[in-house]
């Protein structure tokens, strides 16, 4: 491909390797980066939920009032919702062939994921700052 002298692609375009979607392997790579980060974060979240089960509101406030726990929870929420959005985008792009529906669904998933992520993170910050 690179040696094809009849190609309409410029040398710069080939070197950048971004392809027709203009983002190269960015989406694929971010899916993996978030996946790796989620392995320990998920184990921590499950352990937290197990520890908090059977206790009331006070235990929740004390647990997420600790800076390290608040940090890990905010990381889980940010990375987790991003991972969910990336994954749902792939599923929608694979199975929804109608262009209008595909764009609409992708927009709704993006708004829902980042909206819920923000609500959850603000909630943890509210608890962490003791408001």
């Amino acid at each position: 491909m690179a040696t094809d002298s009849h190609s309409l692609r410029s040398a710069l375009g080939r070197a950048r390797g971004l392809g027709s979607a203009k983002e190269g392997t960015n989406h694929w790579w971010l899916q993996r980066v978030t996946a790796i980060a989620l392995v320990p974060l998920t184990m921590w979240l499950v352990a937290s939920i197990v520890a908090l089960s059977g206790f009331g509101h006070g235990a929740f406030v004390v647990w997420f009032g600790r800076p390290l726990n608040a940090t890990l929870m905010i990381l889980f929420l940010g990375v987790g919702f991003h991972h969910a959005q990336l994954g749902m985008q792939v599923v929608i792009e694979d199975y929804v062939s109608h262009h209008g529906w595909r764009t609409t669904l992708n927009l709704l998933v993006k708004f829902a994921c980042y909206g819920l992520a923000t609500l959850s993170i603000v909630s943890i910050l509210t608890i962490a700052f003791g408001a």
């Binding site: 996946a35 392995v39 819920l116 603000v122």
Partner: protein, 125 residues
């Protein structure tokens, strides 16, 4: 231009999917399920920020039998997606593509997901 001898994709209504293929589609389905499950997570966390009364409403719902079934499903989906996701990361690095290796990983993922789900519920209940 000859068109014979091209590889065909499996015809889903005729072809019996091998376990690895079933687990591949299950990975996607658990991913969709977990994305829907984040609604419950966001409700739980935001209710805690609103106050004790709101938090107790969520706890009351989580104690119902329908929520227990939902949570059992979510927990298995989470551990399946976690274990199978780690296997996907090994694939991304170009490892374990041989048939006997994928078969062994299938079993490891299923046992791992079931064991983690059982251990979690053993600690909660």
């Amino acid at each position: 231009m000859a068109t014979q001898n091209r590889p065909l994709s499996p015809h889903l209504q005729v072809y019996r999917l091998p376990l690895t293929a079933l687990m591949s589609i299950t990975h996607r389905m658990t991913g969709i399920g977990l994305t829907l499950g984040t609604l419950l997570l966001a409700w739980w966390v935001s209710a805690a920020a609103y106050g004790q009364a709101e938090y107790e409403q969520v706890q009351a719902f989580l104690g119902s039998w329908i929520a227990m079934i939902l949570l059992l499903g979510f927990s298995f989906a989470l551990f399946f997606h976690l274990c199978n996701g780690i296997r996907h990361l090994f694939w991304d690095f170009g490892n374990y593509f041989e048939l006997h290796e994928t078969r062994r990983a299938d079993i490891c993922v299923l046992i791992g997901a079931a064991a983690l789900t059982a251990a979690t519920w053993f600690m909660v209940l």
